[in-house]
Symmetry: C2
C-alpha cells in the first residue's frame, strides 16, 4: 500500500484538512481502487459524458458537511450544505439543478434545531433555484455522531465542450479572488465556546453562482475554484501540482478583514489556510484580468474582489511577497487547524 | 410544527427505523420544507424530468450507510454502500450509471480497514457496472463517528414513460418476494459480539439488477421495492398507505431460513421486519404472477422466490394468515429493533 502519511496505521484529523495528507489518503485508498475516466478526485465535480443528446453535460458532485457548532453567524449547517454543493457545481461552469440529501442524525438532537436547519436549507435551495429531490435519514446512537452530519450530492448541467480546468493554465496568468478571505473559518471559530471569543464577523456562506456566471463568457477564463477547507493556499497548491508552475502572491493585495487578521494573530492561524464558503478563486489570462476584476467588482458579492498574484514560471512553489519585497513560502497544509469547519 | 411522534423534543433511534416515526419525522420536517414535484420521500429515488431529449429519464437516489460492525458475513460497509444505491435505482427500473461517495471517517480508524472496505466497494461497483465519479472525505474527531459512515448518491437512466409505482396497484394483485427474508439483519446481528452468538448465515447483500430486469418487460408489473430497513412489513405498510388497500400474506409461503427463524425466536425479533439487502418485493397483476415467479426462479438470485400474498380490498391492514387460517395483524414498526443495520 502507498503510505498515506507519517501516521500510517490509522486515520488522523490531518487526513481531513484538505492538504497533503488528505490528498495522499485519497490517492492511496480511493483513487487507486475507484479510478475511472470521470473521477477527478481533487476537482469539485465529475463532468459526465454528454448525455444523451450531445448538447449538455451532466456535472455530478458530492460534499460532506460536519460543521460544529450547527449554528454560527451568517449561516448554519443547512444553508452551508446547499452552498457547498451549489458552489462546487458553479465553479465547474454548471447550473445547479438537483440535490440529494443524506442526513445522519444523532439520537437526542433537539427536533427544534433540526427543523430550523432544514428550514434554512430549504430557503437556501430556493434562493439557488435547486430542488432537493432525493434523501435518506439515518439515526445514530447517542455519542456516535456530533449532532448532525449531511452528505449532499448535486447534479448540474453545462453546455458541452466548456474547457475549464488546470490544463488551460499558462505562465503569466493572473490569480483573482472574489472577496475577503477567511470569514467563514473565523465566524465558526467565534461560535465555538471553547475559544472564549466573541465578535460580529459573519460567515461568507453564500452561492457563488453570480460570480461564476459573470466570468463564464470570457475566453481567457482558465479555472475557477471555491477555496473551502484548506483555504486559498490549498487551492493554489493543487494548481501548482497540476501545472508544474509556481504562484507568486502579492501580500498587500490580499483581501483580509482586520477582524479576521486580529483573531488569526491571537490564535496563531494563517487566514490564507482558512475556509471560505462564498468566494471564488479564478485564474484568467493576463490580458483579461482587468476585465474579469471589473465584472466581479460590479456585483454585490464581488465588491471586495482583488487581483492577488500570477502564475510564475521561475519557481514551482507558493510564494508570498510582502510590500518590502520580502518572500515567504506557503507550505502545503500538514495538520488540521480546524476540524469540523465545514 | 406537526408532531413527529410521542417523543417530540429530540431525535430518537426509532426515528431511524424505517417505520411510522421515521415517516412522520420526514413528513413533518423534511417534506414540509423541501417539497417539490420530484421529491418522493418514501420512494427510493427521484425520477427527474426527461432531460434533455425526451427519450430517457434521469433517476437520482441517495442512501446513508452506517452498518456496525463494518465487516460481516457476506459483505462489509463498502459492498453494502454500492448495493444499497444500485438497488434503489434498479427497483425504479433504472440502469445505474454513476455513484458519488461521501465518506465520514473517524479519527483512529485503521487505514488497513479503510483500504479493505474501499477495495470491496470498488469490486462491487465493477460488478454492477457503475462508476464512482465524485466524492468527498471528512474526518471526525475520535468519538464523534462510529468508525465510518458513507453517504452514497446514484444516477441511473431509464426509458421515459415507464410507469412503476404504487398508483398502478389494484385489488387482487399478487405480492412476490425474490428470496429468503431477514438474512442481512441476522448476519449483521451475528457479527455483533454483544449478542454472543455465532452462525454461518451470510448477508444477502447483492445487486438486484438481474431480478428487476427480468420483470421490467411485463405489462402487469406494478411496483418493485427492496425491503431494507424495516423489512417486508415496512414496504407493505407503505403500499397500504398509498393505495388504501389491505395486504393479506400467507405465512406458509414466506421464504424464511430456519437459522433466521431460530435466531429471531431466541432474541425476540420478527423476520418480517428485518432488513434484506439483495431481495425485491414486486407487485404484479394476478394473471401474470406465475410468469413473474418463473422468471425469478430461473435466476440464481431468485431460486428462493415465492408468491406470498395479495392486495386485498376487504380490509386496509397488513394481515398474516397461518396454515390453520389464524390471522395476525402486523403493525407498523414503532421502536428501532436494530440500529445501524444498514
Amino acid at each position: 500500500m502507498t503510505q498515506p502519511g507519517p501516521d500510517t496505521a490509522t486515520v488522523t484529523l490531518a487526513h481531513g484538512n484538505g492538504g497533503r495528507l488528505m490528498r495522499q489518503l485519497i490517492d492511496a485508498v480511493f483513487v487507486r481502487q475507484l479510478g475511472n475516466p470521470w473521477l477527478a478526485p481533487l476537482a469539485d465535480a465529475a463532468i459526465l459524458p454528454p448525455f444523451p443528446d450531445g448538447d449538455h453535460e451532466l456535472v455530478f458532485t458530492s460534499d460532506g458537511v460536519t460543521v460544529q457548532p450547527l449554528f454560527f453567524a451568517g449561516g448554519d449547517i443547512g444553508s452551508l450544505a446547499v452552498h457547498g454543493t451549489v458552489n462546487d457545481l458553479a465553479v465547474c461552469g454548471a447550473t445547479p439543478r438537483y440535490l440529494s440529501l443524506n442526513a445522519f442524525l444523532e439520537e437526542g438532537l433537539p427536533l427544534e434545531a433540526l427543523e430550523r436547519i432544514v428550514e434554512s436549507l430549504a430557503e437556501a435551495a430556493r434562493a439557488c433555484d435547486v430542488q432537493v429531490v432525493a434523501g435518506d435519514t439515518k439515526v445514530l446512537p447517542r455519542g456516535l455522531c456530533g449532532g448532525l452530519y449531511f452528505g449532499v450530492s448535486g447534479i448540474g448541467t453545462r453546455p458541452a465542450g466548456l474547457t475549464l480546468g488546470t490544463h488551460g493554465i499558462r505562465a503569466g496568468d493572473a490569480v483573482l479572488v472574489s472577496g475577503p478571505l477567511g470569514d467563514h473559518g473565523i465566524a465558526v471559530m467565534l461560535a465555538r465556546e471553547e475559544f472564549g471569543l466573541s465578535g460580529n464577523l459573519a460567515s461568507d456562506s453564500a452561492s457563488v453562482l453570480p460570480l461564476t456566471r459573470a466570468l463564464l463568457t470570457m475566453p481567457g477564463l482558465r479555472f475557477m475554484r471555491d477555496p473551502t477547507r484548506g483555504g486559498l493556499a490549498t487551492v493554489l497548491h493543487e494548481v501548482i501540482q497540476a501545472t508544474g508552475l509556481g504562484v507568486t502572491l502579492e501580500e498587500p493585495r490580499l483581501p483580509i478583514r482586520g477582524s479576521v487578521r486580529s483573531v488569526c494573530d491571537m490564535l496563531g492561524y494563517d487566514p490564507l489556510y482558512l475556509a471560505c464558503e462564498g468566494r471564488v478563486v479564478a485564474i484568467v489570462a493576463e490580458d483579461e484580468a482587468d476585465e474579469a476584476l471589473c465584472r466581479w467588482q460590479a456585483l454585490p458579492q464581488g465588491r471586495g474582489a482583488q487581483r492577488i498574484g500570477a502564475l510564475d514560471p521561475h519557481h514551482d512553489r507558493l510564494l508570498l511577497v510582502n510590500e518590502w519585497g520580502g518572500e515567504r513560502l506557503l507550505q502545503e497544509l500538514e495538520d488540521d487547524p480546524l476540524p469540523r469547519i465545514c
